[in-house]
C-alpha cells in the first residue's frame, strides 16, 4: 500500500507546556494515496484537531506526520519548519464555515488566491482558476460577488480555491455541516468527483453517518484515540461501540440491524436506504418461498 499521510506516535495538546489533557494521543495511522477516508467522532473527540495537524495548521506536541509529496518529490515532515509550505501545498483543507475562508469579494479572485501566493504567472493562474471553477460547476459565476452566493455555492468556491492549488490530498473539516440538504448533496457530489476523476486523496471529517458511508474507509475517533477503523460495513456492524461514543448509525442501518437482532433472516449490516430495502425484500422472499 502506498501511503500519502502517515502518522507516528502523534500527540497534541492545546496547553502550551504539553502537560495538560491531550486532545490527540499517540496516534498511528496511514492514509492510502487516492483513497476516500472518513473520520467520524462526536464533538470534542479530536477529529478536527487531527485534520489541522495533517495539513500543517497545528504543530504536533510530539510524534510526527509524514507526507509523501509527489510535487515536492520527497517525504515531508509536518513539524519541520522548512517543509511546512510544501505540506500545505500538498494537503489542502476546506473548513466548516464558508464565510470565514473566502478572501476576496469576487469569485474568480478568491479562487486565484492560492496560485497568486505560489507566484504562478498570470496566464497560468487564469487557466488554473478556470479549470477549478469548471470542476465545481461555478464557471458562469466567476465574476459574481462572493457574499451574494448561497452557502453551498460559497463552499464550492472554497473547494475551487483549494483545487486551484493542485493539491494531492484535500481534507474537508465538517465542510457540509452549515449547508442546507441541497448544498450538502452538491458538495458531496464534487468530493466524490474529485477522488474519481482527479485522483485526489480525500479525507472527510464529519458527523453525518450517511456521508461517512460513502467512503472506502471510516476511522472512528473518541477522546483523541482511534477506536474503530475499517470499511463502512465493518464499522457500522459494531453499532454498540458507536453508540458508546455518542454516534448513531444511519436509520436504515439501524432498522435492518434491529430486524437481524430480533431473529429475522436478514443481512446484518447495510449502508443506505436502497440496500436496506433490498435486504428486506430478499428476506421476505426467502421466508415465503420456503
Amino acid at each position: 500500500m502506498e501511503y500519502i499521510i502517515k502518522s507516528e506516535a502523534l500527540s497534541f495538546s492545546y496547553d502550551e507546556d504539553g502537560n495538560g489533557k491531550k486532545t490527540v494521543e499517540n496516534l498511528d495511522f496511514q492514509i492510502e494515496r487516492g483513497s476516500f477516508t472518513a473520520i467520524i467522532g462526536h464533538n470534542g473527540s479530536g477529529k478536527s484537531t487531527i485534520a489541522k495537524l495533517m495539513c500543517g495548521v497545528l504543530e504536533p506536541s510530539s510524534g510526527e506526520i509524514y507526507i509523501d509529496s509527489k510535487s515536492a518529490g520527497r517525504i515531508l515532515r509536518v513539524s519541520c519548519d522548512e517543509d511546512i509550505f510544501d505540506v500545505r501545498k500538498t494537503v489542502g483543507m476546506v473548513f466548516q464555515n464558508p464565510d470565514n475562508q473566502l478572501v476576496a469579494t469576487v469569485v474568480e479572485e478568491d479562487v486565484a488566491f492560492a496560485p497568486e501566493n505560489l507566484g504562478v504567472p498570470s496566464a497560468e493562474i487564469r487557466k488554473k482558476v478556470d479549470s477549478a471553477l469548471k470542476a465545481v460547476g461555478l464557471y458562469e459565476y466567476r465574476t459574481h460577488d462572493t457574499h451574494k452566493l448561497s452557502g453551498g455555492q460559497k463552499q464550492r468556491v472554497a473547494i475551487a480555491g483549494i483545487l486551484a492549488m493542485s493539491p494531492e490530498c484535500v481534507i474537508f473539516d465538517e465542510s457540509t455541516a452549515m449547508l442546507d440538504p441541497r448544498g450538502r448533496d452538491d458538495v458531496m457530489k464534487i468530493i466524490k468527483e474529485m477522488r474519481d476523476s482527479l485522483g485526489i486523496t480525500v479525507i472527510l471529517i464529519t458527523h453525518y453517518m450517511n456521508e461517512a458511508a460513502l467512503a472506502d474507509r471510516i476511522m472512528v475517533v473518541n477522546d483523541g484515540k482511534i477506536i474503530l477503523d475499517g470499511s463502512p460495513r465493518n464499522v457500522f456492524e459494531k453499532n454498540e461501540v458507536l453508540s458508546e461514543c455518542g454516534l448513531e448509525v444511519p436509520q436504515s442501518t439501524e432498522l435492518v440491524r434491529k430486524l437481524y437482532d430480533s431473529g429475522a433472516e436478514i443481512t446484518k449490516t447495510v449502508l443506505d436506504t436502497e440496500e436496506a430495502a433490498q435486504a428486506i425484500v430478499d428476506a421476505l422472499e426467502k421466508k415465503y418461498k420456503k
Binding site: 489541522k52 495539513c55 500543517g56 495548521v57 509550505f85 500545505r88 501545498k89 489542502g92 483543507m93 473548513f95 464555515n97 464565510d99 470565514n100 475562508q101 473566502l102 478572501v103 476576496a104 469579494t105 469576487v106 474568480e108 479572485e109 486565484a112 488566491f113 492560492a114 496560485p115 497568486e116 501566493n117 505560489l118 507566484g119 504562478v120 504567472p121 498570470s122 493562474i125 487564469r126 482558476v129 462572493t146 457574499h147 472554497a158 480555491g161 483549494i162 492549488m165
Partner: protein, 272 residues
C-alpha cells in the same frame, strides 16, 4: 434592513471612465484637483466646467446623483459664499446697507469659490468614487505605493487589510442584523428612549459582534495559511493592470486642459 447599505458609492457601469486603469484614475484625480485650483477667472472656470460636464456625460452618471453628492457640502458652500460676499473689500461698491458694504469683487469671488467647491466635489466623485470599485481602488493603491515598500512601509499588508475589511463588511452587516433580531426576540428595545439610552442598547449587539469577529479572524487566518499565504513577497496576480491607449488619451486630455486653464487665466483675465 441593514442589507440595503451600499458599499462606498460605486455605480457599476461600462463607460470609458469605468474602464480606465484605477492607478491612472488616482493620478488623474490629483491632477484634476490641481486644475481646479489653478483656475483663477470665470473664463478658466468655464473650461474646467466643460471638462467636468464632459466627464459626467461620458460616465453616464445621472445629474441627480451628482446633485445629491453636493448636498452634504451645501452648508459649507453657503458659508463660503456669505463670508466672501461680506468680508471681501474692493473698489466698486455694489450697495451699502447700514454697516455692511458689498463690493462687486466680493460677489465675483464668492461665485468663483462656490464654483470651485462644486467642480471639486462633482469632478473627483465622477472620476474616482462613483466609477471605481473599492477592490480596484485597493489594488491601485497597493501598486502605486509599491515603491514605498523598499523603505520598509508595509504597503502590501495595508492593501490586504483593506481588501479583507471590504470583503467582510457585508458578512458583518448580516451578522449584526441577526444579532439584533435575536436580541429583539428577547425583548431588547433599540428604537425608543433618549440618545444615551439607545447607545446603551447597542452594547449587547457590539459585544457578540466583536467576539464573533475575532473568531472569524482566527479561522480566516488558518484558511489563508492553508492557501499558502506568506505575505507579499513573490506574489503574482490574476489580473495584471496594463495601461491601454485610452489611459494615455485621457491623460493627454487632462494635460491639455491644464494648459488651457493656465492660458485662459493669463490671456482673458482682463475680459471678466
Amino acid at each position: 434592513m441593514l442589507k440595503d447599505i451600499t458599499l462606498g458609492q460605486y455605480f457599476p457601469g461600462n463607460s470609458v471612465i469605468h474602464k480606465l486603469d484605477p492607478r491612472i484614475k488616482i493620478i488623474l484625480t490629483i491632477f484634476y484637483i490641481v486644475i481646479v485650483f489653478s483656475a483663477k477667472s470665470l473664463a478658466s472656470f468655464g473650461v474646467v466646467a466643460i471638462l467636468t460636464l464632459a466627464l459626467i456625460f461620458v460616465s453616464k452618471i445621472s445629474f441627480v446623483t451628482i446633485l445629491k453628492s453636493l448636498k452634504p457640502i451645501l452648508f459649507i458652500m453657503i458659508f463660503t459664499a456669505v463670508m466672501n460676499i461680506f468680508w471681501t473689500s474692493g473698489e466698486n461698491v455694489l450697495f451699502s446697507f447700514w454697516k455692511i458694504t458689498v463690493y462687486s469683487e466680493g460677489v465675483r469671488f464668492a461665485i468663483l469659490m462656490v464654483l470651485r467647491l462644486v467642480l471639486l466635489i462633482s469632478g473627483t466623485f465622477v472620476i474616482l468614487t462613483y466609477t471605481t470599485s473599492p477592490v480596484a481602488l485597493t489594488d491601485a493603491i497597493e501598486r502605486l505605493t509599491k515603491p514605498l515598500s523598499k523603505i520598509g512601509v508595509p504597503t502590501h499588508e495595508f492593501a490586504m487589510m483593506m481588501s479583507i475589511a471590504l470583503r467582510f463588511i457585508p458578512t458583518l452587516i448580516e451578522e449584526t442584523d441577526k444579532i439584533m433580531c435575536a436580541q429583539k426576540a428577547r425583548g431588547a428595545d433599540f428604537e425608543t428612549g433618549g440618545l444615551i439610552h439607545r447607545a446603551k442598547a447597542l452594547v449587547p449587539i457590539l459585544i457578540p459582534l466583536f467576539i464573533s469577529s475575532f473568531r472569524r479572524a482566527d479561522e480566516l487566518a488558518a484558511a489563508m495559511e492553508c492557501r499558502l499565504y506568506h505575505g507579499g513577497d513573490g506574489r503574482t496576480r490574476l489580473k495584471v493592470l496594463k495601461l491601454e491607449a485610452r489611459d494615455y488619451i485621457v491623460s493627454l486630455i487632462f494635460i491639455a486642459i491644464l494648459a488651457a486653464v493656465i492660458l485662459v487665466n493669463t490671456q482673458f483675465e482682463a475680459l471678466i
